[in-house]
């Protein structure tokens, strides 16, 4: 029987309890909330460190990224058995849309943020978006 069931056997929701029991419950309750949330904090921190670490390693050793990608592609052996749809000509060589002025390079920036930035620039300068050309958008890291 877990400790929770032991406590549940002591208190009946339809009965009055003593103030001393309430005090004890309060202490146990606060401790449990802290234990659960501190456990989460440690896990979140650990997961964050793992992700930051792997990102740092990839930056320091770009060649590892290629090796990992190679291993990954070898691991996906089942893909060989999947029916390969021939890529359509249009999908392989998509012509640029009329009036386009090239590709936009996003560096550490999500598409949604980029769209917002472009909209803000267009609005602030009073220039229609189709008359503006963005070459790249890069997220700057703040100095700590």
């Amino acid at each position: 029987m877990s400790s929770m069931h032991l406590i549940a056997a002591v208190f009946d929701k339809t009965e009055h309890i003593k103030v001393t029991d309430a005090l004890l419950l309060a202490v146990i309750g606060v401790v449990i909330v802290f234990i659960v949330l501190i456990a989460l904090m440690l896990i979140v921190t650990a997961v964050g460190k793992i992700f930051d670490g792997s990102e740092k390693l990839q930056k320091e050793h770009p060649e590892w990224g290629e090796k990992i990608a190679d291993v990954k592609s070898k691991m996906m052996f089942w893909k060989k058995f999947q029916k390969q749809e021939p890529a359509s000509e249009s999908a392989v060589n998509v012509p640029l849309a009329e009036g386009t002025c090239g590709e936009l390079k996003l560096i550490n920036t999500e598409e949604r943020d980029a769209a917002m930035i472009m909209a803000i620039v267009a609005d602030t300068t009073g220039t229609p978006l189709n008359e503006l050309r963005f070459k790249s958008i890069k997220r700057l890291e703040e100095e700590k």
Partner: protein, 398 residues
């Protein structure tokens, strides 16, 4: 049967005649209270999405002879002994009886939590994991109110636990716990929880200013690390597994919250996420409000117990704010002045109102010091914290 008899029967069947029966005057007062809440919701915009529904439910349930809701089918000694007779409810129940099934079974709060999860960005919390401590600290208010409620000697253990959860500043959690532990107090507890949540911009600032120094309030917090998409996807899955294994009674609420969040973050269920955030949330809010309001029947609502619940609820909000601020001050010292203690008060759930209050007070002392994103961390951690606290109380009294 002559015409006089027909008219007499017709007269007796009207609601007006019902006001002369037992509990009639209480119904009149409840209708006045319902109209007052409607005014608060519509004119003063106090949590209108829920308060308007709750107030209208109160109005409908207190109209004599309408037969929309039968309190005796849901609470009372018979129900405690034999459970709810759902067949009878489905066969003979009124509209509000049918809608109330969702409250009694705990379905509505969980569905609301799916919507809340789909609207919540845990990014600020993930980028600063110490936010979770502030979210835990503010739950101290819940347990202090538990002691106070027991000390009054007016409430059973289950009732005191249900009242204490008001301090969690989380409506669905309060409803989820109360429907299990003290369903007869559902209306006053829900009304108190939502009313005080609406009053957070008035309730918190005086204590925030009282408990912090000007220097502390002016603290500028630097931006934290960028959280990757993968982390945001892993988080709801990890939390569900770990917390539900530690405290199984919290699984319905937290599981729903995290499911909603996963729909938002995984990036492949945009339609479902959109439904959870909008259509589902609106429909359930509508049903929840009106059916919770229906439990506010004059005879059971107009008692000394309700009045004390309102006072204890207020004390709970204040105590939760104080607990959050005190731990915020502690983190300020530990971090050597890098964490602004004002974000501690956001540890009470009430998303995103409490975070906005931290931001507003911070801006008053240092223009350009935007604390909103930093306060969102403790704010969403508070949702998890109050769900854990409710799970504990449910395990103890349920």
């Amino acid at each position: 049967m002559n015409i006089g008899e027909i008219l007499k029967n017709l007269g007796e069947s009207t609601g007006f005649a019902g006001f002369g029966n037992a509990g009639g005057w209480q119904s009149i007062i409840m209708i006045i209270i319902a109209l007052f809440f409607l005014w608060l919701g519509i004119k003063k915009k106090f949590e209108p999405l829920l308060l308007v529904g709750i107030a209208f439910g109160m109005l409908l349930t207190n109209l004599p002879n309408s037969g929309l809701y039968h309190a005796e089918w849901w609470t009372g000694p018979d129900v405690v002994d034999n459970g709810v007779d759902y067949l009878k409810v489905l066969h003979d129940g009124g509209l509000l009886d049918i809608l109330y099934i969702g409250v009694k079974t705990g379905v509505y709060p969980c569905l609301i939590f799916i919507g809340v999860g789909a609207m919540t960005d845990f990014g600020p919390m993930l980028s600063r994991p110490s936010s979770l401590i502030l979210g835990a600290a503010a739950q101290g208010g819940i347990y202090l109110v538990l002691i106070l409620a027991v000390a009054t000697g007016m409430y059973t253990g289950g009732e005191a636990a249900s009242i204490s959860i008001i301090a969690g500043a989380d409506g669905p959690t309060a409803i989820f716990l109360t429907k299990s532990l003290a369903p007869e107090l559902l209306a006053p507890i829900a009304v108190a929880a939502y009313s005080y949540m609406a009053l957070i911009p008035l309730l918190q600032p005086p204590f925030m200013k009282l408990l912090t120094t000007k220097k502390e309030r002016m603290t500028v917090m630097t931006s934290t690390r960028k959280v990757s998409k993968k982390e945001k996807i892993i988080f709801p899955i990890l939390v569900t597994i770990i917390v539900s294994l530690l405290l199984p009674s919290v699984a319905p609420l937290l599981g729903s919250l995290m499911f909603g969040n996963l729909l938002k973050e995984c990036g492949v269920t945009e339609r479902l996420s959109d439904t959870a955030q909008n259509a589902l949330m609106n429909i359930v809010t509508l049903f929840l409000g009106i059916s919770v309001g229906a439990t506010a029947i004059g005879v059971t609502f107009l008692t000394g117990k309700t009045l004390v619940i309102i006072v204890l609820g207020l004390a709970g909000f204040v105590l939760a704010t104080i607990c959050g601020l005190l731990i915020g001050k502690l983190l300020y010292v530990i971090s050597k002045g890098k964490i602004n203690p004002l974000i501690g008060s956001a540890g009470v759930s009430a998303v995103p109102m409490a975070a906005r209050v931290s931001n507003t007070v911070g801006l008053q002392y240092n223009k350009g010091n935007y604390l909103l994103m930093h306060a969102m961390g403790p704010n969403v951690a508070g949702v998890i914290g109050s769900a854990v606290a409710a799970g504990f109380l449910l395990a103890v009294f349920g």
